[in-house]
Assembly symmetry: D2
Homo-oligomer: 295 residues x 4
């Protein structure tokens, strides 16, 4: 039996941390409060073998401490989710010798200001940031989730492969609806970080591209719409080199009203919850190698 | 054994129907599409004893038929959720002799138009309508849910009752956050119905009152804020006679940063999911008797 | 302006309390631990006008205190959910002069003992108890939710009413599936309470009746199955006088495999999430008047 | 512009498929029905460039067809989730020339038989299977999720690292609770597949090991309990070579009752939903290389 095993069992890749610490920060400014509402999840890895094999926790900074650190670091302001995630990830690796890598995932919930001191939750959309930091460097992935959009027309689906199990009829005019899940990374995170306000501005620009491409693309396939969305980001946000999109195809089914003596001129649809299609792809800037990690 | 019983068991109040039929309607207008997205739940009651006691379904219009009716009725347009719920409720009572009462509950999901044919889901807020129709008449209740709001200051909580289990300290400055659940009814539903567009306009006016009162009230208790919200509606929307509000108190807890050598000048909060306070009250126009039914 | 109004607005029925306090109690016995896992929601009403109209909280026992009370009362054991709810409801009315009525709702989560000190969560089923206490007395409602059951056969649905919107074909053999939501009350709660263990035993007896009737009834309608379930409780649990059941009809749709050259001998079903039927009824012991309150 | 790009944008890794097709199969046997209840998600990849870049769907088998295939394949019985997932994954790769890889994820919901034709949903636990199939071979991953367990004692947490943000006190006796998420793979999937019943038997043996190790391990850290769980599987289920565990630490916090003049002899706990610890690790059979893919 070595330090890494017990009988025939050997410890493989491992990590631990505090998940879903919700922190709300209020920056009380003369021209109106700024509200930041985050959910922070931390995962640390390194030399944690003794905790697993012997229950020796000398290398284990408690997850409770990680939670405290989130709150303490928010004291002087949070900034962009990417910035906050980087501060945290670098802190744990820098200060805990056994910890060699940190992953920090942040969800940001949007609030719209109604008055100097009043806010309204601004939609279903969630902004995300993920930082992976180790000796090799820092990966920063920005993103958004649950941005729900729908086109009432300008979407076809035809010319597809068929087999003995195919019953779907081609359609020249369908509703196309999805909940955008997009993540992207930049070429040089260090530079991007130089401008603390850069993350927020870039978020708006990427989001605008995604919406404009979804809205403006005549679609023959959700795959094509997806690629158009990623390509628009690549074309218009020069620092982004990789975009990953996951788009559920939220089917809207034209209801057959003929049993009731009625036509249905693309007016009435049902919208079943499940099953749904799921289209996933990365779009890369020419010359870029896809990051090998799952985000 | 009578028709209503089996041994010592007697059938009491009962109802049945199709719940959660999701219907999406697109009104394709020259000046841009109008998208209506509803979730409709129906409950019918009447002479249904034989179905319960004998399994004789002669009086039971299948819930599948109710679903079909929702789709068929949407063919020529949906209108306000209240209007659609009234059409459905009256239809079942008018056309099925054994059915003497219908309750139709509608949830409406908001979409914001991005382009002539493109939409974005517009927030967490859900619009609701409930119609109860029987021989005595028609009750129409309008409402909204999950309108999440937060004030960063101008909220105190002090001077409260205490007992041996009280540990809460009074506070002169706290965050006040809630998810507004409001329902309201008008004095004369029939008249209100005369103007098909009236429901939509009134919805906006009531919602504006709720937000204005939440935002503008200096609060010594969430109860006081709640009453101010209802009173604002009564004051400014003359046709409304009863408002019911249910406001969860979504606690934001100032984090104690002193163990880390830091102060916390009302900047950093945790926001636990549970438990939460729940404040519920009706606000009535003077001279109005509270409706005895639960909505 | 009176104490109860502001302008034309008058305060109607109101209540407040702490919702969803989760308390876990461990009774460490020589023969193995007993684990009780509850979610407790409290709603108090009484003379709370000044809090709403003036923000004067002298009559308001903080919801935080209510939470503390839950924990303190659990110190010496929790007992049946009904017992715990009664203790809490009576405490608030007895000790807070302005409070004249209390409603306490409890959810109990089941755990199965694996070893003297080890447990496993025992299914999706939730036990419920609701106590309404005021000067007129105490209503105790026991219940269960999310007990999911399915019969693969012995269920028909035919002979139903039809109209121009009916497309459903009658069926002589269908799957019948539901998630049982049942609540019941006894004739004399005070007596029932005399035997602290009585609630737990009755819960098992009622649950057994519900399952036996669901399993053993040849069904021509879910209404008929529902009534059989309630009637079985009335027949076999003499202290119960009223049972309320809400049974979603979780449709299982036989998939048409003929496009693939296959028959489907009642073997393959889809199971859409929504819409679903919802059947609700009370079953009363002969001579009992239905309780007028919603539970 | 090449086939793979549009301007500077290049298509990266991509896949598509039908997610969450729910299929229920009833095997009507003389000795009682067997109910299988699955949720199937399919993701296909291969030569799908033209769909993304040109909207040319000639290589796209519709996700609707994938759904149909799930139902058609269930006609003659489903078997173990692993077996069903393998049949589906191999089918798509074998019959659609452009498709070179398939991932099929299955969730299985457990039902306990109450009578010959009657069933009850058997707990919160979900059985999982994942098959990844391409020209290199077939990976089969078995698993379970949401198996919620709790030890009332025999758990310590002390001797941990500290820093300026640490406030947690060491404890010699705490509640340890988690929701087991476990996935495992065997050495030779082809052989394992030879015995169609093997998957079900192995599932039971692995599950028993996980529960026995959780229950029987005196814990100094959840990491140590996790490793003991994986090591037990490695020791007792010889065909398993890799186990991955993700264990949320569902904190149970001893409530301070001293403000109420009460002690708390490890009796009363609160159980906040969030945040929670999350401990993740792989446990490998000696000599095994960890699979590089995320499962």
């Amino acid at each position: 039996m070595t330090e890494h095993s017990s009988g025939d069992a050997v410890l493989g890749p491992n990590r631990y941390g505090k998940a879903e610490t919700r922190v709300v920060h209020i920056d009380r400014r003369a021209d109106g409060d700024v509200l930041t509402d985050l959910n922070v999840s931390i995962a640390l890895s390194g030399d944690l073998t003794d905790s697993h094999l012997k229950g020796d926790n000398a290398h284990v900074l408690p997850t409770d401490t990680q939670k405290n650190t989130v709150y303490a670091f928010a004291r002087d302001g949070v900034g962009a989710p990417e910035t906050f995630a980087m501060r945290l990830a670098r802190h744990f690796v820098a200060t805990q010798a056994p910890i060699t890598a940190a992953v920090v995932d942040v969800k940001g919930f949007g609030w719209e200001r109604l008055a100097a001191h009043s806010f309204r939750r601004a939609g279903t959309e969630v902004r995300t940031a993920r930082v992976e930091h180790d000796a090799r460097g820092t990966l920063v992935v920005s993103g958004l989730r649950d941005l729900v959009v729908l086109n009432t027309t300008d979407s076809e689906f035809a010319g597809f492969a068929t087999d003995r199990y195919t019953t779907l009829a081609p359609t020249a005019d369908r509703v196309l609806a999805t909940a955008i899940d997009a993540r992207w990374r930049c070429a040089a995170e260090a530079e991007a970080d130089a401008d603390a306000d850069g993350w927020d501005g870039r978020y708006v620009r990427v989001r605008d591209c995604l919406l404009a491409a979804f809205t403006g693309t005549y679609s023959w396939a959700l795959q094509q719409t997806l690629f158009a969305m990623g390509a628009r980001v690549i074309a218009e946000v020069p620092e982004v080199v990789e975009v990953r999109l996951a788009l559920p195809n939220r089917h809207h089914v034209l209801v057959d009203l003929t049993p009731f003596g009625l036509d249905n001129p693309n007016a009435v649809y049902s919208a079943p919850d499940r099953p749904y299609g799921l289209i996933e792809a990365a779009v890369l800037r020419a010359g870029t190698v896809a990051d090998p990690r799952p985000w």
